[in-house]
């Protein structure tokens, strides 16, 4: 946030196809290698060309993983910019834009940057983003030369002339900015640090893909749907290296049924989609429930109902996955809160699916998947992979009754036994039954697995000193970053946070922490779905719900405001 001198927030705006994404992609590694922590998030329209998209880039001394609404510097390429961003622009915002384009909407904090002219000078309109990158480097005091290595590497394949045009463009942007009246100069938040080279830059999609690979995932069948597609393309890109079977299904129904078929035959299978596609998978989820076959279902959430806002963010599908699929059977729901946590939780999700032979839901959202941030290599945890598959014998029965409801998991072709799974109610050997008695035992067997599942649930992550706080701000999934930053800013011993990355079943010990406190739940939806779940699980009402369902993520500023309201009344 702009009040914080250790923090600089840049926003690049432009039409789809103008390459604003390229600006931040170029700057991020330079900044990282210069020792800064960076965080970048994007919002874009559901179109391939035109419109108005933005990418935010925060440069911070301390690690931040949160969207901030106030802007220090805005580089605006499309005429829609000022209108669309007016709520985020204030006196402190420096706006770089081509005056010609903006006409009347020009203000005192606008700097007339002849982008078009500079880009043309460098070689054409497509160099505008490199011009901007050059300008940024100058504004934040990084020598333009650091950029050249990046440009060389990135464009060498396209030929020397492209590389040198890019050098030229960067130089023009840099020079233009250097000549601005000195009042505009902005210093980087903290002196450059060492060690940046050790850090990684990663978005949520990559983290999810890496987590899945680490988990031994070797099968994905899915149908494209934003923002769920990223996992599919990540695994497709790494399919060859890791022997992953990648199938683009004809529809989501096929996807989950193929996933279950594969899992039945011994694969570690995942499907990825968003809410609408997930609706179509629900009968398959129910099938997973009765045949006790592991499957991980990733849902990249976006605003609904129906098509809604396809490229925006929301946390609207918690209630859906809690009850998805007809009939009654156990399940687990996870929602990681940071890039590093995605990698860990993805592994846990596969492990829980495999161990308990259940469908496991992994909830993310557009904001979290597209956000890029620095992470330390050490933050990437690799968990052991446990396979529950056994070699069968002649006497093998897929649904053998056991104390904890978990039957040894055989697969066809491994061992001498045969493996029968049936969507009908069945007996221990998997054969269809109409016995009420067998039904009763099977219902019990299936549900019994919840006990261990609940006891083993992942505890919520405390933010601040939960024990002493009188008010607990509860969040889940992608809201971890904003809550962490807001609470740190707010810095009151009365207030602490609790972030849930496992939403179901809930760890009983974590629920205990809510007792006798004021509980505020913050979530990116209109109804307060997690608040409802907490009421159900604890039998207590939630004191306050902080909700937002506009398609945008919460900003740190909004969370701080909510905290301030607490203090004032």
């Amino acid at each position: 946030m702009h009040e914080d001198s250790h923090d600089l927030c840049l926003v690049f705006e432009g039409e789809a196809g103008q390459g604003i994404q390229t600006v931040s992609s170029a700057l991020l590694p330079i900044l990282k290698n210069s020792g800064y922590q960076v965080f970048s998030c994007t919002e874009y329209m559901s179109r391939i060309r035109g419109g108005s998209n933005t990418t935010e880039l925060r440069i911070t001394g301390k690690k931040r993983t949160a969207y901030s609404s106030s802007i220090d510097m805005l580089f605006a390429m499309s005429p829609l910019a000022l209108e669309r961003l007016k709520g985020r622009i204030d006196d402190g915002t420096l706006i770089f834009a081509d005056r010609e384009q903006f006409g009347e909407r020009w203000g005192t904090n606008c700097i007339d940057m002849p982008l078009k002219r500079l880009a043309t000078e460098a070689g054409g309109a497509l160099y505008a983003n490199t011009v901007i990158a050059g300008a940024v480097l100058c504004m934040i005091g990084i020598p333009v030369e650091r950029f050249n290595g990046y440009l060389q590497e990135k464009f060498s394949a396209k030929g020397e002339s492209v590389v040198s045009a890019n050098f030229h463009a960067a130089g023009l942007g840099y020079e233009f900015t250097r000549k601005l009246p000195s009042g505009f100069a902005i210093q980087l938040p903290v002196p450059m640090q060492q060690g940046g080279e050790e850090r990684l830059l990663m978005d949520g999609n990559a983290a999810l893909g890496i987590g899945s690979v680490l988990a031994g995932c070797n099968f994905i069948s899915s149908y494209p749907m934003s923002p769920g597609t990223g996992l599919l393309t990540f695994l497709a890109a790494h399919a060859h290296d890791y022997g992953i079977v990648v199938d683009q299904a004809e529809d989501e129904i096929a996807a989950i049924n193929a996933g279950l078929g594969a899992s039945y035959a011994g694969a570690r299978a995942v499907v990825t989609t968003s809410g609408g596609g997930f609706d179509l998978m629900q009968e398959g989820v129910s099938l997973a429930g009765i045949i006790e076959t592991p499957i991980v279902v990733h849902i990249g959430q976006r605003p609904g109902p129906a098509t809604g806002l396809p490229t925006r963010t929301e946390q609207g599908e918690l209630a859906l996955v809690l009850h998805a699929g007809h009939g009654e059977f156990p399940r687990a729901v996870f929602a990681p809160g940071t890039t590093a946590e995605i990698i860990e939780i993805a592994q846990i999700a596969f492990d829980v699916a495999e161990t308990y032979q259940i469908p496991v839901f992994l909830l993310t959202d557009q904001y979290l998947l597209d956000a890029v941030c620095t992470i330390e290599s050490g933050e990437i945890r690799r968990l052991p992979i446990a396979s529950t598959i056994i070699e069968t014998t002649d006497a093998y029965r897929r649904y053998e009754f056991t104390d904890d409801g978990l039957s040894p998991r055989g697969i066809p072709g491994f061992g001498s036994g045969i493996v029968r799974v049936d969507s009908d109610e069945h007996d221990e050997s998997g054969v269809i039954t109409e016995s009420f008695e067998m039904r009763r035992h099977m219902v019990e067997k299936r549900l019994k697995r919840m006990e261990r599942l609940r006891a083993d649930a992942r505890p919520a992550t405390p933010i601040g000193t939960v024990e002493k706080a009188r008010t607990i701000l509860v969040c889940w999934g992608s809201n971890r970053g904003v809550v962490e930053e807001a609470l740190e800013f707010f810095d009151s011993p009365d207030m602490a946070g609790l972030h849930f990355s496992q939403l179901y079943p809930l760890q009983p010990k974590s629920l205990k922490l809510l007792e006798n406190r004021r509980v505020i739940v913050i979530e990116n939806n209109a109804l307060g779905q997690f608040a409802d779940l907490l009421t159900l699980e604890t039998g207590r009402k939630i004191d306050r719900r902080v909700l937002k369902a506009t398609g945008e993520p919460f900003s740190v500023e909004e969370v701080i405001e909510a905290l301030e309201e607490e203090e004032n009344g």
Binding site: E197, E198, R199, L200, A206, I210, V213, L214, G216, F219, S221, H238, Y242, G243, V245, D247, A249, E250, D251, I253, A254, N257, A258, G259, L260, G261, A262, S263, Y264, A265, G266, A267, R268, A269, E283, G284, L287, I291, S377, R382, I385, S387, I389, D394, I411, P412, G413, F414, G415, S416, I418, V419, R420, V421, D422, S423, D424, G430, V431, I432
Partner: protein, 287 residues
Amino acid sequence: MDNSLHTFDMPAETDIAWCPGCGNHMLLKAVKTALQNLGIARNRLVMVSGIGQAAKAPQYLDVNMFNGLHGRSLPAAFGIKMANRDLVVVVESGDGDMYGEGGNHLIHAIRRNFDVTVIVHNNMVYGLTKGQASPTSHRNMKTPVQTGGVILEPFNPLAFAIALDAPFVARTWAGDVRQAAAIISEAIAFRGFALVDVFQPCVVFNKLNTWQWFREHTTKLPDDYDPSDKINAFRFALQDDAFPLGVFYRNDSKALYEDLAGLDNKPLYQHNPPDETKVSRMIEAFR
């Protein structure tokens, strides 16, 4: 147990839920005969089905079984094959299951051309749900839903599969167990997607297409029939005064999905955890 000399018989006390006189009994015999002829090891065979009377067939064979959702046998079969291409995958399904609820999967499973055999018990009616029209029901059949009689022309699975370039398309019927067993054997032995539509009398709900009716309305493909000629196969598939039985179309040179996709011979369950060096390299790319 020596899995390769298996009869596929279920224990004698197994309660077969099909009606007496139903064509499914004959078809079950044909399938068993085919499996025995081929000498497939019991534990390498997976029978996959959806839901319906036809789809109960795997319940009556002593083999690996994935009895999934109504209409969804093909995606499951695909997943199974991808996870372990050493398995022999055979789908049994009904006309409602495969051509109604499952139509989209049939289109795209045919396009994929993975190695699977699809046997459709085509009784031209929804049996398990008590006699509504199926996609293959003939005109004017009265049912509790089609009270004035069926008004649509029946779906033609053969013309459809040929148009989609399925490399093995055949029709047989439950009244000729020998032919059925022979064609099913051929289909299972075929490398690629093989569709076998089987006329099957439903003695309870289909009073139009009875044993007698099928005997009278089926014929053989001509002796000199050339199953490699697609246009001709299409022409014969459209014939509906007497429905020809036999292998309509066969193309042995169509590439197999497993090969095109470069599918590993090692089943997925035998894959090792990801290699540390590779993992580091993957992660390093984000530095």
